[in-house]
Symmetry: C2
Subunit: 453 residues, 2 copies
Amino acid sequence: MEVRSRSFEFISKNYRNYIDLLKNLVSFRSVAAWGTEDLRACAEYIAEVLRERGFSTFLKSAGGAPAVFAEIGKGSRAVLIYNHYDVQPPDPLELWESDPFKLTIKDGLIFGRGVADNKGNIAARIGAIDSLLDYLDDLDLKVKFLIEGEEEIGSPTLNSIVSEMLDWVRADGGIWETGYLRRNGSLSISLGFKGMLYVEVILRGASRDVHSGMAPIVPNPAWRMARLLTKLKTEDGKILVPGFYDDIDPEFVRTAEELIMKMNLEELEEMKEELGLKEFVGGLRGFEALKELHTKPSLNVSGLYAGYTGKGSKTVVPSIAGAKIDIRPVPGQKPEKILENLRRYLSELGFSDAEVVVRSMYPAGYTKPGEAIVRASVEAAREVYGLDPEIIPLSGGSGPIYIFTNIAKVPMTGAGVGYYGSRNHAPNENIRERDFLLGMKHVALTLLKFTQI
Amino acid sequence: MEVRSRSFEFISKNYRNYIDLLKNLVSFRSVAAWGTEDLRACAEYIAEVLRERGFSTFLKSAGGAPAVFAEIGKGSRAVLIYNHYDVQPPDPLELWESDPFKLTIKDGLIFGRGVADNKGNIAARIGAIDSLLDYLDDLDLKVKFLIEGEEEIGSPTLNSIVSEMLDWVRADGGIWETGYLRRNGSLSISLGFKGMLYVEVILRGASRDVHSGMAPIVPNPAWRMARLLTKLKTEDGKILVPGFYDDIDPEFVRTAEELIMKMNLEELEEMKEELGLKEFVGGLRGFEALKELHTKPSLNVSGLYAGYTGKGSKTVVPSIAGAKIDIRPVPGQKPEKILENLRRYLSELGFSDAEVVVRSMYPAGYTKPGEAIVRASVEAAREVYGLDPEIIPLSGGSGPIYIFTNIAKVPMTGAGVGYYGSRNHAPNENIRERDFLLGMKHVALTLLKFTQI
């Protein structure tokens, strides 16, 4: 326990230095959506900070913002830490109570764009490594940082960047960018993310919108779109694309369902109330709802449009009807195959003229709960936060984690300095000072435990 | 034929004066959508022009732009001429080749906003009356003008204005604002307009849009909207609202179908080609398509929306799905009853939570082809244009003609100085100089024949 207590002592004594580091990170306007020079400047600053500590570093890009690669230690066991230095736009600015690009501390809360998502985690993790720097050789540990700059716009070039760096990226375990503290004080750890198949389905009628006096004879694609959508899903939520559920990994389902049964049901009921819902889809309740949310694939209409969608009335026969559909596959499912089945199915239903434009396509990524890095993170969380963490098999959302778990074969676990009130992506993004300190200890302890498993 | 030849001689000799009058009318920026003082100024100018000729005039409004009432002659037979002095906005301005509010004549074409719709008809009709002014007593004819200023925004106050003036408005026959010359040179005369029941149907889910990671459990109203729409109409266009077709006037259908069989099919085929359509709804062709268009009620989706409808992708479970639905009843159908049946039907289908917001509601208006004013207009058209006019039982569009035909019980017929290339509502609106002259003669001859039937 000597290393552990020295590490924790270092963190308790020095954690304010890492708030200063966070202050510098926040000052970069590294908004991925803006695509400005601030992105590269932020990447270079991080590389410099890591170089000062002895990391060997380089930047690599594939047409977009560069990713920072940094490595330290000669140990035989490697851990990969994934973060991103880019942030969401600060809009709407008028709702911020402080300058989003100037770190502001008030009543134990730290405000600024990116403090939770994801610059606070960069700073905390650098602090955690610093606390272990003197012992890396004893621990036989190598630490790698991969910090990209396009996460908030869907990581469009990360796959290309990583594909060329597979040997470098490989590791025995990895720490994913996020995780957050729940209301009861426990850490929420997600073991993976669903994939994404985002398609826009477009049906066309006449070559232009026409006066709706012509409706008796001019075909209106809105009617066909309505019919098409009813063929994709039953009223109680079963997805009707042929073969849709075939490839789901049964081993994933088994372990995921076990995890679900240990989850807390409170947040589900709170959410139902907050959203003003009488009931969830198909009357789902309790663990069944959590299973649906965290282990099942989804098919959703994110957007639907035809004709005049503004205020008041206008009378047209629309020439186009479109549906933006996001499908989220779970482990085992192949988005390419789902797309192929969807296209064939639409054709069989009489919609062979439907355009299916693919906007995003990648599979789910998942790490088994028995992996060393997960066990290390769970045990560390229990000790640092004094409560069993909440383990979520798959986040309801999607992310490019498959690049690590499926391609580079790195088991990944989440951790983070944010909390339920962090307002990621929204004005007044914030973290709690105490969580920053504890998050740093959690990462340090995770790495220590990882070397002992 | 003495009056006729003197009238025609007057018109041939003086018609350029009425182009000057049209020039003055076009110079008023009487755009109903803008609601500016130009509307009243234009109304006052027209009243002044008519007063100079001996008309007794007054303006009347019901909270919007005033309508001009003008009357001349002591005859026992009265004719009512309906026009509107308001125009559509000139946008997009950059596509005009001349100033829209400055009459411009080039190569036999007269350009300006409103020359076809509807100021050209005001000027031509004043010319036609002028040619008959000396003979009104001999003809035992009284002529009334009702010229409103809100037609282009749906005549929101016309019904109130007319309701208080029913005795004044009553007449033995009336001439509606429009009509146009077809490619083959014949006059197109519509005997009426369908009504309008415009509703916005809204379904709600959660109290706000949520991240579509929640799609497995949060209800999405877009799916329900799709299901709702498929219950309104079959694939081949049959409307499924109970009792929808019950009240259609069989006498209307019989006479309308007779008229359809005399119509020209060419324009239908041209339109199909211009709109890039392989076929019309349900494979309709020829007279069957014309029957559907000009005698049957319609139910159309003018707009459909849910969630994110912009470019690219965003992932949400929409909290609202809406459909803008325009229903166009034909003679006999009562929009209030259709609305009631629609509401009950949606409720029975499980959509009792659907909000049905009514944006517009009025019945069809139709005049029988045997009415004196129609026969007069048809005979006059045959003589002036040298071809049988094309009689359309109901225009595919809608209009407030029911106020005259159904409430004030005035049989109405159309006539107009525009042509197939007039570009109503669009940049470079224009009429042909020759049509302006002939249109003036057509109205004069219609009135003469009307006194002789």
